[in-house]
């Protein structure tokens, strides 16, 4: 039987009269790379915030790593990693200090922190940059360090919010290699993106339109089902039906 790491059941979130997320249903299996697609304002961010334990659902149910998003947000936070589109690191700290800090707030022991720091520096080939300030590094490096830091505590699920914005195709490809590698170690990856070629790398994708899940499944299956050549065309076809507009 498949182990579902993320489950949403009629998950709804309203802000006043506005229904940002409208009764969505989805399930993500352990070790899966799940692409969470949708135009700006489609409700992606709101749904993601609920999964991360930052927002309570108005109705419906969401579980992450077996914990309920409504009642067990604190337990969820211990099981997940999160990387924002800003590659959020402390620019005035060195690479090592950043790794140590984030390992520290996830409660890793001194020994583990040390071990992890060395491991990440080695794995990313950062030996020469380890003691440099993050502000002085190129964007692509920051992005990979940011991912390493988000997974420093070996979370069950890692949420990536548009993790490849603003970097060139080669760096994006390198970044996806990191994602594949993490998934091969059993980590579940939940990723939002605006690049439809990246959607093709995902095991499964969902496309949100106006707060609802308009399509969900393997990219190839969805394309066949809708009679389009690729996810890009599928996305455009579905997003065109949207009635509300993002910012």
């Amino acid at each position: 039987m498949t182990e579902w790491v993320i489950e949403a059941e009629n998950l709804t979130r309203r802000f006043g009269d506005f229904t940002a997320v409208n009764a969505i249903n989805l399930q993500v299996a352990a070790g899966e790379i799940f692409g969470f697609l949708g135009a700006n304002g489609a409700g992606k961010t709101t749904a993601m915030r609920i999964f991360c334990g930052l927002l309570e659902p108005t109705s419906g149910r969401a579980t992450v790593a077996g914990f309920d998003a409504m009642t067990q947000a604190e337990q969820i936070k211990r099981q997940i990693g999160y990387m924002s589109q800003k590659f959020s690191l402390y620019g005035k700290l060195t690479v090592k200090q950043n790794i140590r800090f984030f390992a520290g707030i996830y409660g890793l022991s001194g020994q583990q922190v040390k071990h992890k720091t060395t491991e990440i520096v080695e794995r990313l080939g950062l030996a020469t940059a380890a003691d440099k300030l993050v502000d002085d590094l190129p964007l692509g490096w920051k992005q990979r360090i940011s991912f390493a830091v988000a997974t420093v505590h070996q979370p069950k699920v890692v949420f990536l919010d548009e993790p490849t914005g603003g970097v060139d195709p080669i760096v994006r490809r390198q970044f996806w290699d990191m994602i594949f590698e993490a998934a091969s170690r059993g980590m579940t990856v939940f990723v939002t993106t605006h690049y439809m070629d990246e959607a093709e790398y995902c095991d499964r994708v969902s496309i949100m339109v106006d707060g609802s899940v308009a399509a969900i499944g393997k990219p190839a299956d969805l394309c066949a089902e809708h009679g389009v050549a690729n996810v890009d065309e599928l996305f455009v076809a579905l997003a065109r039906k949207a009635t509300r507009h993002g910012d």
Binding site: K77, Q79, M83, K92, L93, Y106
Partner: protein, 381 residues
């Protein structure tokens, strides 16, 4: 289980707190600009107020118009020249010449002796002397003439003897707490109030808003770290820095500006701590409502510095303000801390004298903490 995973330990708050404070400290130490503002500003302000922005008018040049010099006139002119407030610039022969000295800006005061000054003084028991001041700067002019009048009066009493009576109207002025009218240390409580308000609120708000701007705040919120630890971790380093500022100010006051000793320093430190907590909470409130570092800085500077300056009573006496402004001054925390600090530092009063402002300040601090916590919670959901 599909994968074997190390169970995460129960994350201890103390450890997170330590990691956070360490990170914050490294950030502050590495950010030269902030560090300079934090530690350099008090020094610069103390030196400015202590030496450059003195209310005293020293070394004013004066000229003497004396058509018939005698022992008394020369003695009096010497006496004025000896004082640290005046510098003798020369003799003039006519009133027109005085005007030209003034116009050139070479003198601020002219002392005019009539002929027969010595004779009148000794035989009639009174004599006249005219002080002419350049009143294009009225405040300075009145200060300068006051100094000169005081010196003349002193000279008169020194001459003594029955044949010299003091002037018809004897005005006795006594300056409480500051007998020599020295202003160099009078400003210390005021500067301390302003610095703590400015740095406490600005540094905290800017450093939190910076995390929002960079997106690290989001990452922190998604982490298992309790928001309370986040807030405390932000507050503690700046609290320590503000206390260091208090110590710097005290060291400069006693070491350089000759602030008279005798103040209850532990009491002063305790009250400062209370005020710092208030300013940090204010910073927190600001950080919760603004989104950009620049806005945070602007709000702290314009929104806090101006009211603090105007309503603390430090520069403008509150009693002289129109009633509505007096009412407003009651809600400005700096007013109360200024009152506390000057009572302790200048008047050397004890706790009994500052119970009321302390209670008001404590109430405001609690209120600010409550507002900060509420706005923070609101922002989360």
């Amino acid at each position: 289980m599909a994968t074997d995973r190390r169970a995460l330990p129960h994350v201890s708050g103390v450890k997170m707190f330590r990691a956070f404070v360490l990170k914050e400290a490294k950030h502050v130490l590495r950010d030269r600009r902030s560090l300079f503002i934090l530690l350099g500003l008090p020094v610069v302000m103390m030196l400015l107020f202590g030496f450059a922005l003195s209310n005293e008018v020293k070394n004013s040049n004066f000229v003497v118009l004396d058509r018939a010099p005698d022992a008394s006139t020369v003695g009096l002119a010497d006496r004025i020249a000896e004082s640290s407030y005046f510098t003798y610039s020369g003799r003039v022969d006519s009133e027109a010449e005085i005007a030209s000295w003034f116009r050139r800006g070479d003198a601020r005061l002219a002392v005019m002796f009539p002929p027969n000054f010595d004779h009148d003084l000794r035989h009639l028991g009174h004599a006249q002397i005219r002080l002419i001041a350049d009143a294009s700067d009225p405040n300075t002019a009145s200060t300068v003439t006051n100094y000169a009048t005081a010196i003349v009066a002193q000279y008169q009493t020194e001459l003594g003897g029955s044949h010299v009576r003091p002037g018809a109207i004897a005005v006795e002025t006594r300056m409480l707490y500051n007998p020599q009218l020295k202003s160099s240390y009078m400003f210390v409580p005021g500067v301390m109030t302003l610095i703590l308000m400015l740095l406490g609120a600005m540094m905290t708000s800017v450093s939190i808003v910076r995390e929002k701007e960079r997106g690290t705040m989001e990452v922190l919120l998604v982490s298992p770290m309790n928001p309370l630890i986040l807030i405390l971790g932000k507050a503690v380093p700046y609290l320590v820095l503000c206390l260091i500022d208090v110590l710097i100010i005290l060291a400069l006051s006693y070491g350089l500006l000759d602030l008279p000793t005798g103040a209850n320093l532990p009491l002063l430190l305790a009250e400062s701590l209370l005020f710092i907590v208030a300013t940090l909470s204010l910073g927190l409130v600001i950080s919760n409502v603004v989104q950009q570092q620049q806005t945070a800085m602007f709000v702290s500077l314009v929104g806090l510095l101006m009211p603090s300056l105007v309503f603390s009573g430090f520069m403008f006496p509150i009693e002289n303000m129109p009633l509505p402004l007096q009412v407003i001054s009651h809600v400005v925390p700096t007013r109360w801390f200024y009152q506390i600090a000057s009572n302790i530092m200048i008047k050397h009063l004890g706790f009994a004298a500052i119970v009321k402002p302390t209670l008001i300040l404590a109430g405001m601090t609690l209120g600010l903490i409550a507002i900060a916590w509420r706005t923070f919670k609101q922002r989360l959901s």
